[in-house]
Symmetry: C2
Subunit: 371 residues, 2 copies
DNA sequence: CTGTTAGCGCTTTCAC
DNA sequence: GTGAAAGCGCTAACAG
């Protein structure tokens, strides 16, 4: 004979304990104002039955669902998995579960994910929008009236807070660094030019080279190792090969590094390499790679904190105090100087402690507020 | 005047459309057996109101919650984030959301997470248990009667399916490979010896060295770069330094690699290095690192498929057909020969295509079934 | 084809 | 301290 149903319900507990449902409810919510003897008995029944309150019922009753959603392009991408980890831990600290949905930067998938999450009545949402100006996305968000924080890429057309890195200045000062090294032909390699972050970086690069009177050599065709190798090969086949390469994305940096090695083009002697976004082995490969480091965990942490701030205030007041809320947080990046740009070798030991020490040191650059 | 409530309900839609709730319900569930004109009207109202059915209500009503849980040590760990990504995509294909919870291998956190997920009535669960033989964990799982699949580490004391890599043979043949290179003093470096996977690898290593009549030199103290460096330093300060190092974990491999470089111990000339678990730049660093590659995505994919198989069959029958279900899937690993073990350099181009080609080629070694 | 109705499991007045 | 009862939003019998 098998027990058909799945989970015991509160009323079953009440029955078995010989009390009313109210009492059981009180017990599982802290056990205040319950007679110690009753309390003990109810707890005992709960234990025996293995009772677990149904979040579905609670949610239906009007409570929060106890979940927040995270919509990102990918979860294998170290940038977003780091964010996810931080967000998850903050969610846990706020008694919430994290639902992760990935979009591969496909606006269609993004809208789908968003709708599903709304059906699930997530209490809040953190999203790295594939398209910063998607009308459809903002429409849904506006209607759902669910607290949202955008990360990595702001969401325009809508007064919602966002936490992003200062892509423009990160790229600008990186390029400046190359210029200071007296490189004259600095090429910029990238792909995914539809993304806000990449665009900002391109602007930073362009601003730097142009104001230095240098040529803006931009190749936006990099999609994989093959295209990177092809691009580099072509560049070096020309009469005026570049003397520095600035890659705007983690994977592009790696592709370029491998291609240069494959093509026997010495770095930094023949060409310098500087990448946007740090990665685990950037200091270990030879030559070590100079990069623009983003305060990834800070982004996740601040976004999550901003979100739960909203959640709590929404709980208290029906609408947040008149104070300006939608903050646009922009975090400073750091240039990590290693060998590939031509800088003298940093002592590895030093870099290690340096890396450890700067954890979570991303500073808030600007924190404008406006409705 | 601000609208107080949040989401419109089905009955509001019904009222506005001048129909009964059943009709609306039918509409949002495919719109079958509904008069086209009524259908259109209802859809219109839904559109206007921005109505989104409440999953909470559906779940309460007895439907599946449309969520599955994933409990892993960490989400930044490439191994688990890869699993997560695959699982998420399969979940989506089955109209389910993925809730991710991380434990940092802390059994306490694990139990907490599990309980919360059960409260949320996840339809199924994929878990990489911190402790394969946790009584508490198995008790909860048994009672909750929620479909579960274990990954990376099996869950004993309970007849649930698991999908793991063949750690023993992976480590065994890796060690054999070093032995075939005529190394005589093969040291094994690791930490986290409480984990099933690590233990299996140690067994594989031990079996190989012992049956070859070599010494078993095991250092289980590696926790970070410092400890790795210290261990290696100590080993080489001895009269009989090792001529090969076998690291059992991704991070350990990297620490060892960096420490060797730091200590100016040439690889593979002075000492060979072989690591368990492949990583992105293993082929790019110099020397490139020979590793045991695990079929990570396969693990995630098979686990998710196994899980949804259970979910579907549970739906049909109240209990799965008498056939043996709890499969213990063990997937073969591959030894990727690169330079650090002393093998001649593989042509990089070849490795690239090789890597691409072998994606998802993890073969099922054994697939035993037993109640 | 369509409406009425009875709960799903829980919280929450409001009485006792 | 405690219980009875009214829903939260939805689905699924049952009637029509």
């Amino acid at each position: 004979m098998m027990k058909k149903s799945k989970h015991p319900s509160l009323s079953e507990v009440a029955k078995r304990a010989g009390v009313g449902t109210t009492t059981v409810s009180r017990v599982i919510n802290g056990g205040h104002r319950v007679d110690p003897k009753t309390l003990a008995r109810v707890l005992d029944v709960i234990e025996t039955l293995g009772y677990m309150p149904s979040q579905a019922a609670r949610t239906l009753k009007g409570d929060r669902s106890g979940t927040i959603g995270l919509i990102v392009p990918s979860i294998v991408d170290p940038f977003f998995s780091s964010c996810a980890e931080v967000v998850q831990s903050i969610a846990r600290a706020n008694d919430s579960l994290l639902i992760v949905a990935t979009t591969q930067n496909d606006p269609h998938a993004e809208v789908d994910d968003l709708n599903v999450l709304i059906r699930h009545r997530v209490d809040g949402l953190i999203i790295a929008p594939a398209n910063s100006q998607s009308k459809q996305l903002t429409d849904i968000l506006r209607r759902a009236a669910v607290p949202v924080v955008a990360i990595d890429r702001p969401l325009i057309h809508l007064p919602i807070p966002s936490v992003v890195a200062d892509n423009f200045n990160g790229a600008y000062s990186a390029t400046r660094h190359l210029i200071d090294h007296h490189y004259k032909r600095i090429v910029c390699l990238t792909g995914e030019t539809t993304l806000y972050s990449i665009r900002e970086r391109i602007h930073g690069y362009r601003k730097a080279v142009e104001s230095a009177g240098l040529a803006c050599i931009l190749d936006t065709s990099i999609k994989d190792y093959e295209s990177a190798k092809y691009a580099i090969e072509s560049l070096f086949a020309r009469a005026d090969p570049p003397d520095a390469i600035f890659t705007l994305k983690n994977s592009t940096t790696i592709y370029a590094f491998e291609a240069l090695e494959q093509l026997n083009i010495p770095v930094p002697d023949c060409v310098a390499l500087l990448g946007y976004d740090d990665f685990e082995l950037a200091a270990t490969v030879r030559p070590s790679i100079t990069v623009v480091q983003q305060p990834i965990e800070e982004i996740g942490r601040i976004a999550a904190e901003l979100l739960f701030e909203q959640l709590l205030s929404v709980h208290r007041f029906s609408w947040p105090t008149g104070s300006a809320r939608p903050q646009q947080v922009k975090l400073a990046t750091r240039l990590i100087r290693r060998r590939s740009c031509g800088c003298p070798q940093a002592e590895a030991k030093a870099e290690r402690s340096q890396q450890a020490g700067q954890r979570g040191s991303g500073r808030v650059l600007r924190s404008m507020q406006e409705r």
